[in-house]
Amino acid sequence: GAGVSQSPSNKVTEKGKDVELRCDPISGHTALYWYRQSLGQGLEFLIYFQGNSAPDKSGLPSDRFSAERTGGSVSTLTIQRTQQEDSAVYLCASSLAAAGGQETQYFGPGTRLLVL
């Protein structure tokens, strides 16, 4: 079946612009995660959605970052007023459920963001 998809694959933007990154999880997966991978910080958790529960936003680095998940499926990560340090690969993952964290997370190919 189809895996997690993300778009765009690559995004180049100018400092100060807003960007939107999209994630389509595997159908039926109720848990959705965003991670960021950068040279200096490695792989970092950003935000997590589980069903209709309030998202866990504890990993968002600043209030310029926000995410939403519409209809329990597609998610959009928005970065406002981008800065050069936002340059990274943004990875989305989904899993069947998050209870106890015993489910495998399936990752998308990522969006490589470059802020000039």
Binding site: Y33, Y48, Q102, G110
Partner: protein, 111 residues
């Protein structure tokens, strides 16, 4: 940092040799997972080992877990050039399922 430690940071071996990567962590875990990443893009899940398990196998992969030492190891036997990639361990944080990743080991298998 919440992130675990992995060693070695880089490993270069010849095809056919075994590769061992180690991972240590600082807090208790529900489970620990190993992932592979090719060319800096999507992560591929390899193995999940639960906190009450000590060893798990999947094909040429063997993972061990020692919760008393807060460490895990990934062994790849009879390595192939196609195993060249970065390997990450990740512990699951509480009930949210969010992954806390180690820094990763870059493995190069020379043909």
């Amino acid at each position: 940092s919440q992130q675990g430690e992995e060693d070695p940071q880089a490993l270069s071996i010849q095809e056919g040799e075994n590769a061992t990567m180690n991972c240590s962590y600082k807090t208790s875990i529900n489970n620990l997972q190993w992932y592979r990443q090719n060319s800096g893009r999507g992560l591929v899940h390899l193995i999940l080992i639960r906190s009450n398990e000590r060893e798990k196998h999947s094909g040429r992969l063997r993972v061990t877990l020692d919760t008393s030492k807060k460490s895990s190891s990934l062994l790849i036997t009879a390595s192939r050039a196609a195993d060249t990639a970065s390997y990450f361990c990740a512990r699951v944080s509480s009930n949210t399922g969010k992954l806390i990743f180690g820094q990763g080991t870059t493995l190069q298998v020379k043909p």
